[in-house]
Symmetry: C2
Subunit: 678 residues, 2 copies
């Protein structure tokens, strides 16, 4: 808490200062007043440096800052950066852009935290060189200038390496010499090599540094680019009605890998509570044989560190993790911090839950709705610190068994300080760990969780269907400062979300939402096999719950149904893998189309080498046609040279010229173009 930030920053100790006869009791500035360069407006910066910005391994980080000084002197600046594992700052020069804005770049090659700051200083040599040049141009008298140059050089010569010292000395002598011809002095002074050598010894005595050291968290590439596939392990048995096992999941891996997914995400795999167990279709009374919801965690067999006995053993699980890795994929576990009434925590750590005056434990509620099968943790418990450690230990337990990706259930119903502490602690030792935030809630809450450390976040994408909605939401996510900390994961469905759009049951509707998710989001996911098999029936009209939801029962899926979307999904994921442009959210640009049912957008890789152009028909019923009006300047395409667009979905190739081009998409064949532009 800075009570008087301003004063602390500006004033040092009360100084008794004698100047002539006067003794002053003024506050003396803390900093040397000769530090004349101002550095402000740094980016990337999240909440003034309160939180780190996010990057992934291999990224080129572009840092910008406003850097200037008083008067007309020339300024030089450097970007300093270091990985948390090193005490040494690396350095790269910053380059002037425009309007006092400078930039510098460095590549992050290691996982974990990086620190960076900017230094700027008045460059007396450069000022002299620049002014001398102007004087020579204007034919002014330069006698004193050469002497001033000599003064600057001799100041610098004191710190040069021996190699350079002799070379400099010779030049110095000429500049100082009363006999040397002016033309010789001019040659010495304007020699490019002199400039190059002097740049090696910048005089930073009065250099300023940016007021804060800023931070980056560098994640694995999958933090930025990932395709998720969610499935219920218990619904993977080869025989209908049987409870699936981890071994069955193993057998499913080739199917998932063929579709091109990176992450296999499993809902909670722990023992399921029996008290107040939910029956099929969320009925409050379970019947015999009902398996309950995996999110009602904990029973006599154990809690968050145990495995549901019907799924298999810890060895089975570790084998599944390993086999998944063999396919180049990773297992993601669902961590849901809540307890069924028969969870061992309830007995052993009653103090972590809220007691009601009648002696019962407070179950989850959203009045008047009651969720008696679930006890929330009490983050105001007097034993919060022990509870925090145990909850963190749940992650560490599964990290110990090979898991590095966690999908966190409802993080917004747990105290925010816990997440910042927990994720920071875990990533300090396991910087390769990723956390997906499942917080379908208000925007500022979702953004706060991302700032606190969540690597990816679910979004409002499931409910953004119209062109204007998609455009404004994706612009917010990818073109504002939000992108520095919030990485969207775009899902067309989840076990909780069967959108109205998909309830039409039309194949075209599923294709549209898949194509949008996979091309708008560098990270996206589907809940399968419900998605590829186009499961569309809601529990009742107007609800987004699935009928016969897997959340409450074991399902069996006919994966080989001829209408399955699995081959389209495989094609889309293959296109994502071979086009760098689709592996980042940052290169997204929308382009006008004169038909509200057609949306057009492009994605470009950071280096601009890969350019992909999407046109999607948002209407699942009808063929829609129109003219796109491409913003060619953003795409580095000239207005009069023809360019080729190659549809990666259909393999058709067109030659276009200029911004206006005709498109027509029949949703019943395929509702989108994914053009590679050349």
């Amino acid at each position: 808490m800075r009570e008087t930030a301003q004063n602390t920053m500006m004033h040092g100790e009360l100084a008794l200062f004698a100047e002539g006869d006067v003794i002053s009791t003024m506050l003396m500035p803390k900093e040397d007043g000769r530090r004349r360069v101002v550095i402000e407006g740094l980016s990337p910066e999240v909440d003034a440096g309160r939180f780190p910005a996010k990057r992934t391994v291999g990224d080129l980080v572009r840092v910008e800052a406003d850097i200037f000084t008083d008067g007309h002197d020339a300024v030089s600046a450097a970007l300093l950066y270091r990985h948390e594992g090193s005490q040494e700052w690396s350095e790269t020069p910053m380059i002037f852009l425009v309007n006092d804005r400078w930039f510098g770049e460095f590549r992050v090659l290691d996982l974990g935290r990086y620190f960076f700051k900017v230094a700027g200083w008045v460059d007396h040599f450069e000022t002299w060189r620049r002014d001398l040049h102007k004087r020579i141009q204007a034919d002014s008298d330069t006698t004193v200038d050469y002497l001033m140059g000599a003064e600057i050089l001799s100041h610098i010569a004191r710190q040069t390496k021996p190699d350079d010292a002799g070379w400099l000395k010779a030049r110095l002598d000429i500049l100082k010499s009363k006999e040397a011809a002016k033309e010789d002095k001019r040659k010495v002074a304007t020699d490019a090599l002199l400039n190059e050598i002097i740049r090696r010894y910048p005089d930073r005595e009065f250099a300023s540094e940016s007021e804060r050291v800023l931070e980056l968290v560098v994640d694995p590439v999958r933090g930025r680019f990932s395709a998720w596939y969610e499935l219920f392990p218990r619904s993977t048995a080869p025989v209908a009605g049987q409870h699936g096992t981890f071994a069955d999941c193993e057998a499913r891996l080739p199917y998932i890998a063929e579709m091109g997914f990176d992450i296999v995400y499993l809902p909670p795999i722990h023992p399921i509570g029996t008290q107040f167990r939910k029956g099929r279709n969320n009925s409050t009374v379970a019947e015999a044989g009902d398996v309950g919801s995996p999110w009602a965690i904990g029973a006599a067999e154990g809690g968050h560190k145990s495995i549901h006995p019907e799924l298999g053993t810890m060895e089975d699980f570790e084998r599944l993790v390993k086999r998944t890795a063999d396919f180049g994929m990773q297992i993601a576990l669902d961590i849901a911090f809540q307890a069924a009434p028969d969870h061992p925590y309830v007995k052993n750590h009653e103090e972590w839950f809220r007691k009601r005056p009648d002696g019962t434990i407070q179950y989850a509620e959203n009045p008047p709705k009651k969720y008696q099968d679930i006890y929330p943790f009490d983050f105001e418990s007097s034993k919060w610190w022990a509870m925090w450690q145990e909850l963190k230990d749940v992650f560490l337990f599964w990290i110990g068994h090979g898991v590095r990706i966690f999908r966190v259930d409802n993080p917004h119903t747990k105290a925010f300080p816990f997440w910042e502490w927990c994720i920071t602690e875990i990533k300090r030792d396991y910087p390769e760990t990723l956390f997906l935030s499942e917080a379908f809630t208000r925007p500022k809450v979702m953004y706060r969780l991302a700032k606190l450390g969540f690597s990816q976040s679910y979004t409002y994408f499931p409910w953004r269907n119209a062109k204007w909605e998609i455009t404004s939401y994706l612009t917010e996510l990818t073109k504002t400062s939000v992108r520095e900390f919030f990485r969207p994961s775009q899902w067309p469905n989840t076990p909780d979300i069967l959108t109205e759009f998909l309830q039409s049951g039309m194949r075209s509707a599923f294709m549209i939402r898949l194509l949008l998710a996979a091309t708008l989001g560098a990270s996206y996911g589907i809940y399968g096999p419900a998605f590829e098999l186009m499961e569309w029936q809601p529990i009742q009209p107007g609800k987004e719950e699935y009928l016969n939801s897997e959340k409450y029962e074991v399902r069996s899926w006919d994966l080989n149904r001829p209408d399955s979307l699995r081959f389209l999904i495989a094609l889309v994921n293959q296109i994502r893998r071979s086009n760098e442009a689709l592996q980042t959210d940052w290169g997204l640009e929308f382009h006008p189309v004169d038909n509200e049912q057609l949306i057009c957008y492009s994605k470009q890789s950071g280096d601009g080498a890969n350019l992909v152009l999407m046109v999607v028909n948002l209407d699942p019923h009808n063929t829609q046609s129109g003219f796109v009006d491409l913003r060619l300047d953003l795409l580095n395409i000239s207005y009069d040279t023809p360019y080729q667009v190659h549809d990666l979905l259909t393999d058709a190739t067109y030659t276009w010229t200029g911004p206006r081009n005709y498109v027509s998409l029949n949703p019943h064949s395929i509702p989108a173009h994914i053009f590679r532009v050349r």
Copy 2:
């Protein structure tokens, strides 16, 4: 410098922590983990609290913040504030707006610095009350709810005043009672008075506070609302060719006061250097009798703390200051930190200037241009600290002689840290002091000076003539965060700036620029009598310097010329004084007109009670007509009720209905409407 901001903020000491048998060496959070409320996104905030925002005495300060907690619990929040002169925080509740945004307000009644912060906490009583209400509505069982209420009340009862304690106890007993009827419990629980009393004792045990305490600088009202009149004292003599005196200035005061100005600003009044003195029209050689530039400060007679002998004595000056105050106006002095070669500083403090290798002192330069009559101070002098004190002492000297407003010449050529220190030091003791920054330079430099403490700043207004230029520039100044620290002072001319627009010499052109300046800027100024007498001849075509500029010679003005703009100026200033809307820059809104030569904008006072609508013809040559299309919703005018617009310039009154209304302005009569809207 925060090396690892994140870690410092998040972690406390390494704690040896024993939970059960396990001894942990984890870093323990510094804050109690039960502080569950997040407070972020505070406004007003300048550079994350690095600089104070600006307000004027009497302002109602509106503070906003994003405030929320995890889960579904109700949140309450308060705004805390204090004047620097008090250690006690005052407090006012914050009110929920929308989307997790809250606001609170307080009025600043004293000059100087204010501090403010926000506190937020989970409100268990309100959560209970809200949930109980829902349960009653849904006819759910409320037995336990009343017991929970009793628990919360008994917790609060511990800290109540005796008056409330008994009252509460009686209610508590009913809620706890096993015998009391449910209906009685319901009545007690939902009693509005209960809510009111409980609100007096918020349970803030786990309240969060905003991470920074933010600051405001509160200036006199003239910091926000002021009309400046600049004149050269030496040109005020009643007899042409004679050197004017402070006594002559006194005689000029009624003329200035009648025009309605607030501030009489004098260029430097110090002795003028003789070495390298500039002649008329900036000639490099002065002739006998040439008076030189007032900005070439210092001669044998003294420097920045002395008065030019021909202007009068210190007593004369003090009398002028006093007489000006009698007219309700204030004197502003020009402080130009630079020295003529014969300034006493040059002899007595050679170390404050830069020595060149040939032993001479470095004069001002912008190569290849040389200003040999001026020596800049060297802010990299090893004696910078003594120099800073002396420069500050120049301000204090004139404060000692009654001056409280300073126009600072070229502050951007002096080191930035000096200004922050100097202005903060002076305003600590003299918070009524105002500083106008004369930095016609790059935008980020101008903004930095304002952040450092300058109360007002010159702007690019002189060169903004077209509708789109005026609209975009004024929007930047009045609708973005810039307005929190940068207060524009709009000048149509200065002794250095005779714009191309005014060089037409047309009366209409001068009227247009006056009307724009005085209605777009709550603060504005003119350099007179050159302005009201429409002085228009440049020293040469394409230059903005005046021919026969007062900067280099004594001029005599015929103030009674019949074409003088003095009566229009008086009318405009009177309109400004009687319309609060014109006294702030914040209530500005632009409205479309279907003619690019007509600009339309409105201004509203903070409370909305005063509404003024301007239409200006930007074309000095021709009558321009068109339809304005008012954004009536912004003006709180209904679309179908007639409203009256009363032209305060011509006294004409029109009745308008709806947004579209016809206007026609002949620049040769008067090129604007200033409508009071009722």
